[in-house]
């Protein structure tokens, strides 16, 4: 569903943020990308969304070359970004309504939106409240709801658990697992090793723009993921 082939990004200041990334995420698969700050995780997501052009290599969504046919590719993808502010003067429902229509879902009723919001665990009294009064976690839930409503075969999440309380984080995990059941390909960048361990089918560790390690669930469960992660972080790249 999601595929990167020698995906490379060198910024204008000559900084090599992503170096020949190769990965493939199939249907019903959760891929967690770990890595220190500045490792190149967000850069990867931006490349998949065509927010930036790759220096070389290709990103595919559902076998569509993202940089060639970005609009076509975006039909199959939804995105949850870190710390989304949304439209503060709109209520939660109005925000959902706008993005749902933008995602091509025109026939949803108020009740539908309520149902979706209940589903991600947002408290009832917040449904018709202006989003500017929301906490970070509440906004994150709306961001997730937007992705769920769009209902695409692939989902990109950029550090979705930062700022969520433990309960909300485990709700997120539950939802992600359900989405996986539905056969969606999920790509998640995170610093949260425990969460990754809990849900990932594959884990990748990124360091200075390179994917230095990739393990399947079976492999990393046998090993101690935290230890591997810290080992990789200390080791200088050759």
């Amino acid at each position: 569903m999601l595929k990167a082939v020698d995906l490379t990004k060198r910024y204008e200041d000559n900084h090599l943020a992503l170096d020949a990334l190769n990965l493939e995420i199939g249907k019903g698969e959760i891929f967690c990308l770990l890595g220190a700050n500045g490792a190149g995780k967000t850069t990867t997501i931006n490349l998949f969304l065509n927010f930036i052009e790759p220096t070389s290599g290709k990103a595919f969504i559902n076998d569509i070359d993202v940089s060639k046919e970005p609009l076509k590719a975006k039909k199959y993808i939804s995105y949850v970004c870190e710390n989304v502010m949304l439209y503060g003067n709109f209520t939660a429902r109005q925000n959902l309504d706008f993005f749902a229509r933008l995602g091509g879902k025109n026939n949803l009723t108020k009740e539908d939106y309520y149902m979706y919001m209940r589903d991600v665990g947002l408290q009832e009294e917040a449904f018709e409240k202006k989003v500017k009064t929301f906490s970070k976690g509440m906004r994150q839930k709306i961001g997730l709801t937007i992705a769920i409503i769009k209902d695409t075969p692939a989902i990109l999440l950029d550090e979705p658990t930062t700022g969520l309380d433990p309960k909300a984080a485990s709700e997120l995990t539950r939802i992600l697992l359900r989405l996986k059941q539905e056969g969606k390909a999920i790509f998640m960048c995170t610093h949260d090793i425990f969460r990754a361990k809990a849900i990932a089918d594959k884990v990748g560790i990124m360091k200075d723009g390179r994917l230095v390690m990739m393990r399947t669930r079976k492999e990393f469960l046998e090993d101690d993921l935290e230890r591997i992660y810290l080992d990789y972080m200390q080791e200088p790249v050759v």
Binding site: L49, K75, S78, Y79, V84, G88, L102
Partner: protein, 510 residues
């Protein structure tokens, strides 16, 4: 998709503080301005009616042709309520003399106002629109991209199947959806005030002009929307954008007009009014000398029983001897054509002064191409018929009329007629000897025959004297003046739009 974005922005704007502030600002400023200007117009209309009645009455009350003084009183333009233009700087009254070609009209509104009251609010509707709508245009457009970026919604939007161009058109449509109601509200409010004010009646043609004013305001506003969106597409954050926008706004509305006035005055010098006046006085003296010399070449006693006259050529006498009246006719026959000649000689200086002023005005007009607000003001005053062009047309019509008037006198040899200087039948003037005898028998003034007094005679019938006709400039003429300026604003706006499209193509969405 674009429509979805536009609707979203419209709704967001509608509940935003800036919209409410903008709306309240208009709600207070517009009625205040319009009411002040309606009041001003009503006053001018009243003054006009009084002056016109007075002029008509005085015109008819003359018993000799040398006293015929047509006075042209220009009615105030109802549309000056919207745009005053130069209407308050120039007069509205012109008296026609043989001895002088009128340069400017008399009776400035400013002179009629109470000079002790400082008029702090001399701004008109179009000024308010020029200030408010440009300000609102940039207040609503300065952050159209950066706000979405700061909210994180830009990335979220572009994770969907939406092209940059439809996003851009949606954003711009959103601004229009917000601002057009405000602009319409301003116009409707002012029209309502005008409809419900006394004495102000706009013709169908006037309303058409108001509609054109709306159109011009729309284009003016668009210029600022596109200027501002262009800047927003170039600048990453809202603060930088608002600073640049505000600077440009102040530059276009306040700094540039003042600088251009200063430059115009420096580069295009006008001779002193006093110098022109001095040259004209010299000519007047020359004329007087020639007349005195002419008088002195005859040896005759010019004692009059009842004489009224003035320096302007008015001369009315009754009860004189036949010798005196014949002599006076001879003088007039010599003097009046000379007077007309000297008017033409003086005009050379007046014309030079006027040309200097016009050169200045022309330079100012070419500077206006660099300032949308000046351009908008020019367009509006042209549509409202309160601009220099309209005033010049009026004055040159007046001068043409004077020419016709003078020609009528020349053609009919009026200066040689006794009626030019006396209402009394020429044959009833007794010879000098006889008059002296009559005088000897008169003890007191009551003994004089009533025919020796001017008010014994009726007023002249002046129905043959040519009258002044007001020319109405046609809509086509006015439009031709404005259409180039309007198209210029449109073209500049389109260029900005195109640049925005180009620059937004590279806009960093992250």
């Amino acid at each position: 998709m674009a429509w979805l974005i536009a609707k979203k922005d419209f709704l967001l704007n509608l509940i935003s503080t800036r919209f409410i502030i903008a709306f309240l600002l208009c709600l207070f400023l517009i009625p205040f301005t319009v009411i002040v200007n309606v009041n001003d117009y009503q006053n001018r209309l009243r003054v006009y009616q009084v002056e016109k009645a007075k002029a008509e009455k005085e015109f008819k009350q003359t018993r000799v042709y040398s006293g015929v003084r047509p006075e042209i009183v220009k009615p105030p333009q109802a549309l000056s309520i919207f745009c005053k233009g130069i209407s308050n700087n120039v007069g509205n009254r012109v008296t026609i003399y043989l001895g002088k070609i009128p340069l400017f009209a008399q009776g400035k509104t400013a002179e009629r106002d109470n000079p002790l009251l400082n008029s702090f609010f001399s701004i008109d509707f179009i000024n308010v629109i020029a200030i408010i709508m440009s300000l609102l245009a940039l207040v609503f457009s300065y952050d159209i991209f950066s706000k979405e970026k700061e909210n994180g919604t830009l990335k979220l939007i572009f994770s969907n199947r939406i092209s940059r161009s439809s996003f851009l058109s949606g954003k711009i449509a959103g601004i229009y959806l917000t601002l057009i109601p405000i602009l319409l509200f301003n116009f409707i409010l002012s029209c309502l005030i005008i409809i419900f004010s006394q004495d102000v009646s706009l013709t169908a043609n006037d309303w058409l002009h108001v509609a054109l004013l709306f159109f011009a305001s729309f284009i003016y506003m668009s210029f600022f929307i596109f200027l501002s969106t262009f800047i927003s597409s170039k600048v990453k954050c809202s603060i930088t954008s608002i600073i640049i926008n505000l600077f440009l706004w102040i530059w276009f509305l306040f700094l540039f007009p003042n600088i251009s006035t200063y430059l115009v005055k420096t580069f295009s010098k006008v001779g002193l009014y006093e110098n022109m006046k001095y040259a004209m006085d010299q000519l007047d003296n020359e004329f007087s000398d020639k007349c005195v010399n002419f008088n002195n070449s005859f040896d005759i006693d010019r004692d009059h029983f009842n004489l009224n006259g003035g320096y302007d050529g008015y001369f009315e006498t009754t009860g004189d001897s036949r010798e005196v009246i014949d002599f006076e006719i001879k003088i007039k026959t010599f003097k009046e054509p000379l007077r007309i000649d000297y008017a033409d000689k003086k005009w050379v200086y007046q014309k030079k002064y006027l040309d200097d002023l016009m050169k200045q005005k022309k330079l100012a007009k070419s500077f206006a191409w660099f300032s949308p607000s000046d351009l908008f003001e020019n367009i509006s005053s042209s549509l409202c018929q309160t601009n220099t062009q309209e005033y010049n047309d009026f004055m040159s019509n007046v001068r043409d009329y004077r020419k016709t008037f003078v020609q009528y006198f020349v053609d009919n040899k009026m200066f040689e007629l006794p009626e030019y200087i006396t209402p009394q039948d020429i044959n009833t003037f007794p010879p000098k000897k006889k008059l002296e005898k009559m005088w000897n028998s008169i003890k007191c003034i009551e003994d004089c025959p009533p025919s020796w007094f001017s008010n014994y005679y009726p007023y002249l019938d002046l129905s043959d004297i040519p009258v002044f006709k007001f020319h109405q400039t046609s809509l086509i003429q006015e439009l031709s003046q404005s259409i180039i300026k309007l198209s210029f604003l449109v073209i500049i706006s389109i260029i900005f739009f195109y640049l925005t499209v180009l620059s937004f193509r590279k806009y960093d969405l992250r």
